[in-house]
């Protein structure tokens, strides 16, 4: 390890209502791989966005190569040698590898683009990385792993001195990860500073020299990787915060009937052999880190995405769910994590959204019975305490919490007994959150069964009767609320699959 190339000190950043970074410290040395870890929303990405000029810091200093610096945009950061290899690849599929690498700064002779020179230069980059990719190949013909190599090549073509890898292994196969590590070790030897953001504990142990842990926008500490254990890191990630009002025992009797049983569900890479049971009146928490496959599992059960195999039983009866229509007929309602895209039709009224899933019950012959529709919508506005001037109001004008209530009303009006809440309080303020929690508890008491997918530990520990933990498309464990602690859950959520 060499000298320090980059230091971020006392970095502070607030967004309206959120203190995203609270005096965070971070440094990278030449020739080291430095892991940046933390739960979802700990502030890792925000910190890197501040570094590369996507966000402006409120206070603090960034020292790069001995000089205090502030990049105003990614271009400036790139030119100075600080580049990010993104998790989602920003590649133009129809162009060649070389054209992608040099997009925006093509070599030219006169006004003609010099493709030959670009191919030669790209070849040199690949040679430096010891990888074998044909620069004239069309990008979309490459595997995801190879595309990522191209991103790395693009990064070092900027004369990078610091490279940030944002969850680089998420989409890669085992063999590709091996190759990635070889490249990273190579870059380390060439004295580059490398930031490695990942959730995978095993990778951290293998590839990194130091680990910095963040939690809730604060800096927790920095450890030397081979002097610490996985548990040390997890303890730093979850902290010792006393969570508000956790549930201490399950409200569901042991012998409550099973309303939903899922067996050996497979749906793509993100849902691998998932089995679980949901009991009447139960809130079953689904915990895991980003990309654990929880939403994908829910969508597969609901028929929103195709499944490859697996059986679903409702009240002991085997059912076939090929599309959302089938699921709705089975009494399943799905509240998407992305309300605006998948949950509601924002330009329609509260009443129209409310009856969307069961309009056939509000028809007089061929015609929509708007009176009945209005009446039932008003009924649920009252019982869910939705704040809206009237049911004729367009949903776009409601707050996040109240939009969520409209979606809940939609499924309750359809008489769904099984409700899947996917991140039910995302983007909702604290007061409204409590209301949604109360509402979920009430629904469970009334005998509805709820699957609650949540990335917030507080929410999981406060609401669930039982917790299913997933990691990389597999169920890694099931925890009764009586035995659940953050450490137990985090351990399962970062469990090494192999």
């Amino acid at each position: 390890m060499g000298d320090v190339i980059l230091t971020m000190k006392d970095i502070d950043k607030s967004f309206p209502g959120v203190h995203a970074l609270d005096h965070v410290n971070f440094e990278v040395k030449r020739g080291e791989v430095h892991a940046l870890m933390g739960e979802n929303g700990a502030g890792k990405s925000t910190l890197m966005k501040v570094l590369t000029g996507i966000y402006t810091k409120d206070s603090g200093t960034i020292t790069y190569e001995g000089k205090e610096t502030e990049f105003h945009n990614t271009r400036e950061a790139q030119d100075a040698g600080v580049v990010i290899v993104h998790q989602e690849l920003n590649m133009l599929g129809h162009l060649t590898v070389a054209q992608n690498i040099f997009i925006g700064r093509e070599f030219k002779t006169g006004i003609r683009i010099d493709d030959k020179k670009m191919n030669d230069e790209a070849k040199k980059l690949f040679d430096r990385l010891h990888i074998d990719i044909d620069p004239t190949e069309t990008m979309s013909n490459l595997t995801v792993g190879k595309q990522q190599m191209c991103e790395i090549a693009k990064a070092i073509s900027h004369e990078a001195k610091v490279i940030i890898f944002d969850e680089p292994s998420a989409a890669l196969t085992e063999a590709e990860i091996e190759e990635l590590f070889k490249i990273i070790r190579d870059l380390r030897k060439q004295n580059l500073g490398i930031v490695y953001i990942s959730h995978r504990m095993d990778e951290i142990k293998v590839i990194t020299d130091r680990v910095t842990v963040m939690r809730d926008g604060t800096y927790v500490g920095t450890l030397i990787t081979n002097e610490c254990t996985k548990d040390d890191i997890i303890n730093m990630m979850v902290g010792r915060v006393i969570y508000e009002d956790p549930k201490t025992e399950s409200a569901v009797p042991e012998n409550a009937p099973v309303v939903l049983k899922v067996e050996h569900l497979h749906a793509g890479k993100m849902v691998q052999d998932v089995s679980f049971e949901l009991r009447k009146g139960e809130i079953l928490g689904f915990s895991g880190l980003m990309g654990a496959g929880r939403t994908e599992t829910a969508r597969a059960i609901f028929g929103a995405d195709p499944k490859e195999s697996g059986d679903i039983y409702i009240n002991g009866q085997k059912v076939t769910i090929n599309n959302p229509q089938d699921a709705v007929k089975c009494g399943i309602g799905y509240l998407s994590e992305d309300r605006k895209r998948y949950g509601i039709v924002v330009q329609k009224t509260v009443a129209e959204n409310s009856t969307m899933a069961c309009l056939e019950n509000y028809m007089s012959g061929l015609f929509i019975n708007k009176k009945a529709e209005k009446k039932v919508a008003e009924e649920y506005v009252e019982s869910l305490a939705t704040k809206t001037p009237s049911v004729e109001q367009l949903v776009v004008n409601l707050s996040g919490g109240n939009q969520q209530k409209v979606v809940i009303a939609k499924w309750l009006i359809n008489d769904c007994d099984i409700l899947i809440f996917d991140e039910p309080t995302r983007g909702i303020d604290v007061g409204a959150k409590n209301e949604i929690y109360k509402l979920m508890s009430r629904l469970a008491d009334e005998g509805k069964s709820i699957i609650m997918i949540s990335s917030e530990m507080t929410e999981i520990l406060r609401m669930s009767d039982r917790i299913v933990v997933m990691c990389e498309g597999r169920k890694t464990g099931e925890v009764k609320i009586e035995e659940a602690t953050q450490e137990v859950i985090m351990n399962l959520a970062t469990r090494d699959i192999n």
């Binding site: 007929k329 998407s336 895209r341 330009q347 329609k348 309009l359 929509i368 109001q393 367009l394």
Partner: protein, 325 residues
Amino acid sequence: MKKKSSIFTSQKFIVLLVVIVLFTFFSIVSPNFRQYSTMMSILNYSYYIVLMSIGVTFPLITGGVDLSIGTGLICYSLAGGYLITQKGWPVAAGLLVTVLLGVAIGVFNGVLVAFMDLPPFLTTLCTCMITRGLGSVFSKGLGISWPAANEAGGWFRSIFRITTANNTMIPIGFVLMVIIVALMAFVLNHTRIGRYTIAIGSNKEATRLSGVNVKFYHTMAYVISGFFAGLAAVAYSAVFATVQPGTGAGFELEAIGGAIIGGVSAAGGVGSVEGSFIGVFVICLLKTGLPFIGLQANWQQIITGLVLIGAVMVDIIKKKRVEVH
């Protein structure tokens, strides 16, 4: 944002004002324009565009488009007319075939768009070409003259206008249009087909995840469009003496233009049948009126194009405002 937009700020109302202003302007400037016979001919030549416009409003609201209605209209009219004049079919049967052909092409478009996920623009562009060729095939390349008003079987021409003994015309077609507009406005606002048409245009995925049979209702929008292209073919046959194969391209643009002027959002999710109805008259008035003040057809197209750009801009500005909100 206000709770409910007042009628005076709604696009429909503004467009209605535009229609009145245009009408008044042409009437004042040109004495020939304010003749009863001119009024009647504006109405006569508007019906087929009005009908196409009502129909195409549905695919437009889903966020798609139907370009096949113009050449389709000619194709259906040629087929029906051929059966009547060459094969001796009763007029009523010929009319039925005309309309059903429209429905068939609508089903074809709908299945390709909704079930096969083909882009609506390309799909209907292809059916536009297909129907143009098919029309010539049906009529063996010849123009078809449907029976004239005074001939046997000419009764269908009086669906849209009645000429009394002293040679005054009564435009009952207009009354018919108003009834059809009211009916389809009801379908759009008060039936499941209408509700889901708007829902698909606003957020297709959210609609699907609500358990709605999106593919079926998406198809239905094109079926309605095809059905109305069939009705438009009847109106066209009733107004014009002969129907020529190879024509019809461009009719759809007048219908779609009318709908957009009338407030249908180019991005889908927003629109009304009555708006499209009023919008068509802006186009019809420009088409008929401009020659009366000495501007020829070329100018009519240029001005119509500019008016359309204006209407689309209004739509985009409205949408930006909602996003800011």
